[in-house]
């Protein structure tokens, strides 16, 4: 019991580090809004001109369709580079220090993943703000918005732990930059973020079934757009499974980074 309490408190403390850093310097957060803004303002507006029901869900405009996708994608982009952060922390000795505290490895990984979640929430706020400014019609029901934030945190935790797992094997910042670039786009394109899965070739449709991003996007879309919660339990459950799996992987292999 005391162990569980301590594990939770350690994880929260590690996430707190991130929150405090953001409070001291939030420049990066603002720069991170450029990309979703471009996706919505440029890509979304241009493709909005194609009035095809194939590109969206019937009854919704394309820009409405991709807003949840852009939100999820911006969370993915923030989280997938968490491995670089952790390699950098290893390089400056912070990770060694962190691992020499009584905190269990699991707490360190969960804490770092939560830290990515903190950034994920900010991405969510930014995309909501953009949607309001551009006038994209979304359902701003408080419960749905809360649900979207929870999904964003889960997505961030999932990809941050995946990234930390990869970092434990790749070990250098350069390689992590490379792998980050190499996997974000496939994850993005093999998902339902900017077009429906039904448009994909069949082989890609199968791949997208194993893509956590698809489940995240689907969950966010059902809460922000359609209000049809029929797939929501499956989405959240799948996302949770992915997240727990990657957290478990990262906790086991993280030590490799300092060996």
């Amino acid at each position: 019991m005391i162990n569980l309490q301590r594990s939770v408190s350690s994880a929260l403390t590690i996430a707190e580090i991130e929150a405090r850093k953001i409070r001291h310097d939030s420049t990066e957060l603002w720069m991170r809004t450029v990309q979703p803004a471009l996706w919505l303002l440029v890509f979304g507006e241009v493709f909005n001109a194609i009035r095809s029901s194939l590109l969206s869900i019937p009854g919704y405009s394309y820009i409405q369709y991709i807003a949840p996708g852009v939100l999820a994608q911006s969370v993915l982009f923030v989280a997938i580079f968490y491995g670089i952060t952790i390699v950098w922390e290893r390089d400056v000795g912070l990770l060694t220090k962190l691992l020499s505290t009584p905190s269990p490895r699991l707490s360190v990984v969960v804490g770092k993943a939560l830290a990515a979640g903190v950034r994920g929430i900010f991405q969510g706020i930014m995309v909501f703000a953009l949607a309001l400014i551009i006038g994209i019609n979304l359902r701003f029901d408080p419960l749905d918005v809360a649900g979207v934030f929870i999904t964003a945190v889960l997505l961030a935790m999932c990809f941050a732990s995946l990234s930390m797992t990869l970092a434990s094997f790749l070990k250098t910042r350069d390689r992590m930059m490379g792998i980050g670039q190499a996997i974000t786009m496939p994850l993005f394109f093999a998902s339902n973020a900017i077009y429906p899965v039904s448009l994909m070739p069949v082989w890609l449709q199968y791949i997208s079934k194993f893509n956590p991003l698809s489940y995240g996007v689907d969950a966010i879309r059902s809460m922000l757009l359609t209000g049809d919660y029929s797939t929501l339990p499956v989405d959240i459950f799948a996302l949770l499974l992915f997240t727990l799996f990657f957290i478990a992987c990262a906790s086991v292999v993280l030590k490799r980074l300092i060996e």
């Binding site: 408190s9 707190e16 580090i17 405090r20 310097d25 400056v92 691992l99 505290t101 009584p102 905190s103």
Partner: protein, 301 residues
């Protein structure tokens, strides 16, 4: 190691000092055998072991993007220091290490010496039973180095913290450590109190310059003549300082005039050279120096 002492771990680069510390602090797996910290096996209960120890790694590892206060707060939380005591301990530690007036400034604006002091201050907040310092004075100017040494000593005196320190600075090791060990190629080559170790490589050497008739032999207890040529006599003795007045008196009683006496004592450098010379590698020192410089540059921006 005994409880309450300051123990020095010396050795050439790559001797295994850092690895030894990593194994004790549960950051690396022991390759063979087992390690007990205050009777607890590090492999069986790593979390309990880590709760008892503090670790200051070689590279400066305070977080530059947080303030001094926050750095201490985070680590107090991670060591489960009681909420009621936390604030008081942090403020005390900051004051004690002369960082109180800059507590709310981001650490990246601190000097190297201040960062080091902040790291040791962390240990003061967590009150570990044993503190590991991996080259605490590396890259510091003589003044900061001195301050760090004093603070380590006070930590040991006031809280009875057992301290293990690695260093390449023999003078520092001599001042600081109650006992020390020299490692070479992963094994302890020799260990003991600094004074014993120094004695083991030979006693004090007095070089006496005399004019006139010098005696070829000395009375018992004064030492033995090592060499004697053209009025310069080298004498090996146990305690050089005490031998000087007696030698002067002895020579003058025997009709010689003593012009000068110089005393040279074996230092820990001599001990080190004797036990560690086998594997001093250029490459190791270069890499170490570079990584240290890099870490300072990064934090000092």
């Amino acid at each position: 190691m005994e409880e309450g002492e300051i123990f020095g771990l010396l050795g050439p680069n790559g001797a295994g000092k850092t690895t030894a510390i990593k194994m004790i602090t549960t950051l690396a797996r022991p390759t063979a055998g087992s390690i007990m910290v205050f009777g607890i096996d590090v492999q069986r209960a790593p979390q309990e072991v880590r709760q008892m120890l503090g670790f200051v790694p070689q590279a400066i590892s305070v977080d530059g993007d947080l303030t001094g206060y926050e750095n201490l707060l985070i680590f107090a939380k991670l060591f489960f220091v009681d909420r009621e005591e936390r604030k008081e301990r942090i403020l005390d530690a900051l004051k004690y290490f002369g960082l109180a007036d800059r507590a709310n400034e981001l650490v990246k604006n601190y000097s190297g010496g201040m960062m080091r002091r902040l790291e040791i201050a962390q240990a003061l907040v967590n009150r570990p039973r044993i503190l590991f310092l991996d080259e605490p004075s590396i890259g510091l100017d003589p003044y900061s180095k001195n301050q760090v040494i004093q603070q380590i000593q006070e930590l040991n005196r006031e809280f009875g913290t057992t301290i293990l320190v690695t260093t390449h600075d023999m003078t520092e090791a001599d001042i600081l450590c109650d006992r020390l060990a020299i490692m070479n190629m992963g094994k302890i080559a020799i260990s003991g109190a600094p004074s014993d170790l120094k004695r083991s490589v030979g006693g004090d050497v007095l070089t006496v310059k005399v004019t006139g008739q010098a005696a070829a032999s000395l009375p018992a207890g004064l030492g033995s003549v090592v060499s004697s040529e053209q009025g310069t006599i080298k004498i090996l003795t146990e305690d050089g300082e005490k031998a000087i007045p007696r030698l002067t008196e002895y020579f003058e009683r025997n009709g010689a005039v003593v012009e000068s006496i110089s005393l040279s004592r074996p230092t820990l450098d001599d001990v080190f050279m004797k036990y560690a010379k086998a594997s001093l590698q250029e490459e190791g020192t270069f890499r170490d120096a570079r990584s240290v410089r890099r870490s300072f540059a990064r934090h000092g921006r």
